[in-house]
Amino acid sequence: MTDFVVILISTILVNNFVLVQFLGLCPFMGVSNKLETAIGMGGATTFVLTLASICSYLVHNYILQPLGLEYLKTIAFILVIAVVVQFAKMFIEKTSPLLYRVLGVFLPLITTNCAVLGVALQNTAKAHNFTHSALYGFGAALGFSLVLILFSAMRERLAVADVPVPFKGAAIGMITAGLMSLAFMGFSGLV
């Protein structure tokens, strides 16, 4: 049981994929203008990440490994991720057209979200079992969603604040992200 907690805390806080491992920065900067969008993106990524890590585990352990095709794992994982993302896209388009429109290009771009592939690859690298893989993916997604939502809440305030002109927009966003990253570094040593 403890290992579950350890995995969750590790992925959400200590080894946060965005702020500590610097994976998946592009949606982090791109979809954090509005809180609602960030929540939607967080949800979508959570769905994709969890499912992708499970699927990639299955593909890796039951297809690639028995056949000795580990060298194909990147291609296979990309395939898995692409399918899951496409599925998520269709699902969101049906259930929340506005979110679909707002997420825009970032939704299909979850495919190239390095955090997703990163999780899948790390799962194999760390030789996680099925539960651990799923949990690892889920935790990573939670961490991603957490920082995305925090960041977007801050950016919403920044948008209406008196920011010096040279820092307006993305610049202050970058600075904020840096500061957040520093703050998350403080979690190291927690586990």
Binding site: R157, A159, V160, A161, D162
Partner: protein, 859 residues
């Protein structure tokens, strides 16, 4: 001791209340001119009931409440109405609005008020009516009509009445002095309001503890009554409605609700006393106590001022020094507004006139950047987040403002007061609230616009669709007609190839039978076909009479063919009519047509194979007749002999052929008769077919008319010939006379038919019966017919002498008439659910088309 709760936030600005309390309550003299804005309250503006030049007395109604949320306005002194016009209003906008302007006469006469000793004797409605009639509105600030507030909705049980004597804003002491000077009236008024609200369990007068004199006075007056007097620590803005409720009851009014929903009604002390005066003395709201204060004035005190008195006048009486004043404020320094002009009047809500010196209230420092200190949030009595709202108000993010409950902001100004950066926070909220209200109105309007637009679109689309449907229907009808025509042709060809008897008319009849349901109509149709066939026969007869040489041969052939058709059609008609139909027997044997009918009747029950034989008989008969004619011609040495001879020969041939046919095919298949026709006959068939097709596309009426026209032409010709013959003493006179008579008869008959079609359903009279007339009295042409001929001739002559344009006009007129008639008929048919309605509709459409065409030609 009453339990006192506390409110969040709040501030303690310098009170500045002492200045105006040094002097006793004063009075203001009558001004030169008084102004009564029609909108001094929340709700709909009142409606002026006086006009320029009217004499009014003090207390007289000058503007009547309009709608449920509105208030009466009364003159506060006697005088003359000098104008009802737009004047600048005492409003932060500085806008102008309708006002009644009165010039006082100085006599200050009052109308007689009707006092009431014991209000408990009055019903609830009467009391409310008294308050409403007196025009009482909230006198603390907003000016909400009191009668509305004192009459909460049925489902709202009021358990607490709070009288607001807080007066928390700096400088203002109007309520304080009122409580000091008239505590007994206040308590009585409180009891009155309690009575009105069904004696709530708790009746409390809330007074801040910075007014000890007032508290003592009211406590004394309230002794022995159920009115509780509560004092609580001074804090701005404890006088706010929701804040005072929270202080005295510990309850919070839910966001977006009124206090009545939690069983509380709150009234200002000034309002309470005014209501008491209205009920007890019958005195309307015509004056109020106003604090006149500020260092720019020589005298600072409270005054009783008549409503409508210009502020300039009030200030002048208090020694206003314009140079010293930084600005002129109506209301307190926290929630009041600066006036641009001082010629606006004192109204029901004017509780304070503040004329501060520049030192006293200097212009605000320029706003600086927000330093996010959060002092505004601490000061907010409504527990809102002023700083957040400030950012969102600045960026005009109304959605978020809504989410931050900006609507619960009471605009007390505490946040602005504490802001170290001097940001006019409350101003942002006021602006945002105003914009949001405006946006809501616009949204509503745009929704309405959308609906209107959509309805319009729908309507237009519907109209288009109807038009399109009509067009399609017409197109379809035309196509059907075309198809029919094609079908006719095909059938005609088939018939020509297989059986000459199954001619076009028969085919048409058959089709008509297939499509038409009503037997009457069918009959009519058959009759018409008989008629047209008859027409043809007649025409051919006539042509033969006039034709020369070879033409005669052809004509004779045609005649033969036409007669065949006629007999066929008649037999059909007769078959249809059945034995029950009273078809008069053919009266004159010499009339071939009548004879044919007789034959047809006889044939009624005949088997089809016998028809052929009958035809043969008729052919023989005709041959006999032709031979007779031939003999007569030969006797006369006429040059027609040859032609007649040829015709007779042809007939013989035909008979022979028919006989042969009959013998060959016999009774087995009499219809299939090889066409032993000459070219001429075939050509005639073709022509007849074409004509029939043309006719079939015509409406019945038009057909008739067509026939009638041609008949008229023939009649005329015949008449001419007859006259000529008579003049020359020719021996053909008799024959010509007979032909003429026949034609006349025929015309008569057609006319009758036309008439039958025209005024009612096309219930044609029996053609046979119609035919009787000419047959019975061939010599004595009916006068009517003669008359009609005369008319027709006259018309023709007139037309000939007319210019084209006139002709067209004439035609248009008649077409219009016809259209009118057709429409009438259609309407009638619609009402009666006539099965011929389609025909009528077609007729109307055709008439319309014709009219249009004629009009087009004319232009």
């Amino acid at each position: 001791m009453t339990k006192i709760w506390s409110i969040p936030g709040g501030i303690h600005p310098p009170e500045n209340k002492a200045q105006s309390l040094q002097l006793p309550l004063g009075e203001v003299s009558l001004p030169e001119e008084m102004i009564f804005p029609l909108n001094q309250h929340i709700g709909a503006p009142a409606e002026a009931v006086v006009r320029e030049g009217d004499q009014v007395l003090g207390g007289q109604l000058i503007a009547k409440a309009k709608g449920p949320v509105s208030a009466n306005i009364h003159a506060s002194t006697s005088g003359v109405v000098v104008a009802v016009e737009e004047r600048t209003l005492p409003h932060p906008s500085g806008l102008s609005g309708p006002c009644v302007v009165i010039r006082p006469d100085g006599e200050d006469r009052m109308v007689e008020f009707s006092p009431c000793e014991d209000y408990t004797a009055l019903s609830h409605e009467e009391l409310l009516e008294k308050i409403r009639a007196a025009g009482i509105t909230g006198m603390g600030g907003a000016g909400f009509p009191s009668a509305v507030k004192l009459n909460p909705r049925g489902n709202q049980k009021i358990d607490t009445l709070i009288i607001n004597g807080t007066e928390c804003e700096p400088y203002i002491t109007a309520d304080d002095i009122l409580m000091q000077t008239r505590p007994a009236d206040l308590v009585s008024g409180t009891q009155l309001l309690a009575h009105l609200l069904g004696n709530p369990a708790r009746v409390v007068i809330g007074i801040e503890d910075n007014k000890p004199t007032a508290i003592a006075a009211v406590r004394k007056a309230a002794e022995g009554t159920n009115v509780e007097v509560a004092s609580f620590p001074t804090k701005y803005p404890s006088g706010g409605e929701k804040q005072l409720i929270q202080i005295l009851t510990g309850k919070e009014v839910p966001a977006g609700q009124i206090p009545a929903t939690i069983g509380i009604v709150l009234q200002n002390v000034g309002t309470t006393v005014a209501a008491w005066e209205a009920v007890r003395y019958g005195k309307p709201l015509i004056e109020r106590i106003t604090t006149v204060v500020g260092e720019a004035l020589e005298t600072q005190r409270n005054v009783v001022v008549r409503l409508g008195t210009p502020i300039r006048h009030v200030l002048a009486e208090h020694g206003f020094i314009g140079k010293k004043a930084s600005r002129l404020i109506v209301g307190g320094p926290m929630m009041g507004y600066a006036l641009e002009q001082d010629d606006v009047p004192v109204v029901k809500t004017t509780n304070c006139l503040l004329a501060p010196s520049k030192k006293e209230l200097p212009p605000p420092a320029p706003a600086q950047a927000c330093i996010r200190c959060g002092m505004c949030a601490e000061a907010c009595p409504a527990s809102l987040l002023p700083q957040q709202m400030y950012w969102y108000a600045r960026s005009e993010d109304y959605e978020r403002l809504e989410a931050h409950n900006i609507k619960d902001c009471i605009e007390c100004g505490a946040c602005s007061y504490v802001c170290p950066s001097s940001i006019p926070l409350v101003q942002y909220y006021r602006a945002a609230k105003g914009t949001m209200r405006q946006m809501a109105i616009e949204k509503e309007k745009s929704d309405r616009s959308r609906k209107r637009f959509e309805y319009r679109q729908e309507r237009i689309a519907k109209a288009e669709a109807e038009k399109e449907a009509k067009r399609l229907a017409r197109q379809k009808a035309a196509e059907e007609a075309k198809k029919k025509l094609a079908g006719q042709k095909a059938e005609g060809k088939e018939a020509a190839a297989s059986a000459p008897q199954a001619d076009i008319v028969a085919a048409a009849v058959a089709r008509a039978q297939a499509t038409q349901k009503s037997p009457e109509e069918e009959k009519a149709r058959l009759e018409r076909s008989v008629l047209s066939a008859k027409g043809r026969v007649e025409k051919l007869h006539e042509k033969i009479a006039t034709a020369e040489g070879e033409m005669k041969e052809k004509l004779a052939a045609q005649l033969k063919q036409a007669e065949l058709k006629l007999s066929e059609a008649e037999s059909k008609l007769a078959a249809f009519d059945g034995s029950s139909t009273a078809t008069p027997a053919a009266p004159a044997a010499d009339d071939p047509v009548a004879a044919a009918i007789a034959r047809a009747q006889a044939k009624m029950t005949m088997a089809p194979d016998e028809k052929l034989r009958a035809n043969l008989d008729s052919l023989r008969e005709r041959l006999a007749k032709a031979e007779e004619k031939l003999a007569a011609a030969q006797a006369e040495g006429s040059d027609k002999v040859d032609a007649l001879q040829a015709g007779a020969d042809k007939l013989k041939e035909k008979i022979a052929a028919s006989e042969k046919e009959l013998a060959e095919l016999g009774p087995v298949d009499p219809v299939v008769q090889a066409p032993a026709e000459q070219d001429a006959a075939a050509a005639a068939i073709e022509r007849a077919k074409a004509k029939a097709a043309a006719r079939s596309s015509m409406s019945d009426e038009d057909k008739l008319r067509d026939q009638l026209q041609s008949l008229e032409g023939r009649l005329q010709k015949a008449g001419d010939k007859l006259a000529q013959a008579k003049a020359e003493g020719a021996d053909t006179v008799d024959a010509l006379q007979t032909g003429f008579d026949k034609l006349q008869g025929k015309q008569q008959e057609l006319r009758e038919q036309l008439r039958a079609i025209n005024p009612a359903a096309p219930e044609l009279q029996d053609p046979a019966a119609a035919e009787e007339a000419p047959a019975e009295a061939p010599a004595a042409a009916p006068d009517a017919a003669a008359l009609a001929i005369e008319r027709a001739k006259a018309k023709a002559a007139a037309q000939a002498s007319m210019s084209d344009e006139e002709k067209l006009r004439d035609q248009i007129d008649s077409a219009e008439k016809r259209l009118q008639k057709a429409r009438e008929r259609l309407a009638k048919a619609e009402v009666e659910d006539d099965p011929n309605i389609d025909a009528f509709r077609g007729a109307v459409e055709k008439s319309e088309a014709k009219l249009e065409k004629l009009q087009g030609e004319l232009t």
